[in-house]
Amino acid sequence: MVEKKIKLMQGNEACVEAAITAGMKFYAGYPITPSTEIAELSAEKLPKVGGRFIQMEDEIASISAIIGASIAGVKSMTATSGPGFSLKQEGIGYAVITETPCVIVNVQRGGPSTGLPTAPGQGDIMQARWGTHGDHSIIALYPWSVKEIYDITIKAFNLSEKYRTPVILLLDEVIGHMRESIELPEADEIEIYNRKRPSCLPEDYKPYRVKEGDLVPEMAGFGEGYRFHVTGLVHGETGFPTSNSKIAEELVRRLVGKIEDNKDDIVETDEYLLDDADIAIVAFGSTARAAKSAVDTLREEGLKVGLFRPITIWPLADKQLVDLSKKVNRLVVVEMNVGQYYLEVDRVAGKYTKVDKYGRVSGELITPQEIVDFIKEV
């Protein structure tokens, strides 16, 4: 029998371990609580695997550097928290329009602004979706345990490579700093996806042409003989800027469509005791842990309650939410904000069932008892 690798690990540490397993070879970051361990561990581990770490002068420089590194052909990541996430938005938009794979970790804390630096929050749900300007779609994932941080970090890299898009990995202060024993998968149990590279001759390469049957254009790296151009301006297949209205319309719709039209592949959700449930709690990240405990308590009291947990926050799990809303009498969205994900749940499920929200923005965790009380009282 193969001995499994069991390790006691912090959430932020699991993120770095998984990123390296996924092939991360470049990290650029700027210190910010509660994400700093991700930078510290990347600094320690990357040179040992031939990768490179750099502490940049600010958050904007960090995301710019990882986009540059990714275009040079190297899998890249940065990590931050609320105030830094605001600064990353410029680069996220650039990565969207240039279709540059990269992973941006946001270990959420209380906001707005400097807010509550050492306390958890979930107030960046909508910023993850709409933080950068202009029409776009985005992938944002949110695990709830150390083990799942490991798995979902790998998934974040895989999706970024497959769809050539920035992927936002949402954590929060609690799961980022929490320690749990996790069983690390064997190398042959892990699926790693690498961006599709061009096989054509350099003179035939069109950096933004999507081949028949492909999801995204093939991606060459700088220095590989293809000598292509990258710009944040609207561009056609050649990569050069244009203000042609037809090309602009097609580009933005393709960028949105490659994500929104592939939800079956991208969206991952989890559920707990939903089969016979009358009431479903909707929660993610550390709040979902409290919600699961609340489900157990309410079940003991005879209430048929279950938990629906979106792991993919964006694109929205609308199909799953609609299906769920047709089965239950009530959805209760619990999140550490004043009701962000709730807006989306109510939008898609509100016409089929009652949708309530329960939130907290004090920097304290939502306790299972609070959820129990809310569900019983309201």
């Binding site: 070879k25 470049f26 650029a28 040179p47 040992k48 031939g50 490179r52 750099i54 940049m56 002068e57 600010d58 904007i60 420089a61 960090s62 710019s64 550097a65 990882i66 986009i67 540059g68 590194a69 990714s70 275009i71 040079a72 052909g73 190297v74 890249s76 410029e90 680069g91 650039y94 790296g221 700088f222 220095g223 590989e224 003989g225 293809y226 000598r227 292509f228 151009h229 990258v230 710009t231 944040g232 301006l233 050069f240 800027p241």
Partner: protein, 273 residues
């Protein structure tokens, strides 16, 4: 018919360029390409990174690995590219506003790291792309559309800034002294470290018109008459320095280069310690 240099190094399908008649950016871009040609570098190993502004549109015309980034961030992108692939010859094309206002922080830190990137600032003393607002290099008292009563800011000496921040090659030339500029770009590329080259260019359309500097040729004559080589400048009495500016190789030094230092860390682990 395009010259041999244009055919070899420009993406001729993207020409003509967007620059105004009389703009100096073409002379600076040619100087960069001529320097690359003189050095006999492999086009596949050259990466040109630019920011946002008139000058930064040059990257799209050049037949290398090219990237037109966000405003002010060219050096941050370039740092990621250089560190990811240290074998690439990374050249940054930027403007005065791009490099020293919105990108000022990235400039001083790239210089401090002494990362092997050659930066060429096309300094036209204004924000041309947006129509002639004053920039950090608009001389005090001069006008811009956002300084209708004259600019009250002190203007930057970009070379002094780069030198103080740690650049190991610092030079300045003008579009009039184009051959000097070519040589400086060559030497900047050859320098193993952060090289900073300020190319004084002209914007007759906005800065020139707003400040009654005449036409393109008049502005070039101004550059010719007021640029003084560093050796001559040092000998000038103070009263004759008024209104003049230094050109030439202003500063050179030698210290460890960033990607080489990082490589030593990587190597220390791969030697089976």
């Amino acid at each position: 018919m395009p010259s041999q240099l244009v055919n070899e190094y420009f993406r001729t399908e993207n020409l003509p360029h967007i620059w105004c008649p009389g703009c100096g950016n073409g002379i600076v871009t040619r100087a960069i390409v001529k320097a690359i040609d003189n050095l006999g570098l492999n086009k596949d190993e050259i990466c040109v990174v630019s920011g946002i502004g008139c000058s930064s549109r040059a990257s799209g015309y050049l037949d290398f690995n090219t990237i037109h980034t966000t405003h002010g961030r060219a050096l941050a992108f370039a740092t990621g590219i250089k560190l990811a692939k240290p074998n690439l010859e990374v050249i940054v094309i930027t403007g005065d506003g791009d490099a020293s206002a919105i990108g000022g922080n990235h400039l001083i830190h790239a210089a401090r790291r002494n990362i092997d990137i050659t930066t060429i600032v096309f300094n036209n003393n204004t924000y041309g792309m947006t129509g002639g607002q004053y920039s950090p290099t608009t001389p005090t008292g001069d006008k811009g559309t956002t300084a209708p009563f004259g600019n009250i800011d002190m203007n930057f000496d970009l070379c002094e800034l780069a030198k103080a921040a740690g650049a190991t090659y610092v030079s300045r030339s003008t579009i009039f002294t184009a051959n000097m500029l070519i040589k400086q770009v060559e030497n900047g590329i050859k320098n193993k470290g952060f090289s900073f080259i300020e190319a004084l260019t002209i914007c007759p359309t906005y800065y020139g018109r707003k400040n009654r500097k005449g036409e393109s040729v008049d502005m070039m004559v101004y550059l010719k008459e007021n640029a003084i080589n560093i050796a001559a400048y040092d000998k000038l009495p103070d009263e004759q320095r008024e209104g003049k500016f230094i050109i030439g190789e202003i500063y050179q030094s030698s210290r460890p280069e960033y990607t080489e230092e990082y490589q030593k860390i990587i190597d220390s682990f791969s030697k089976g310690v």
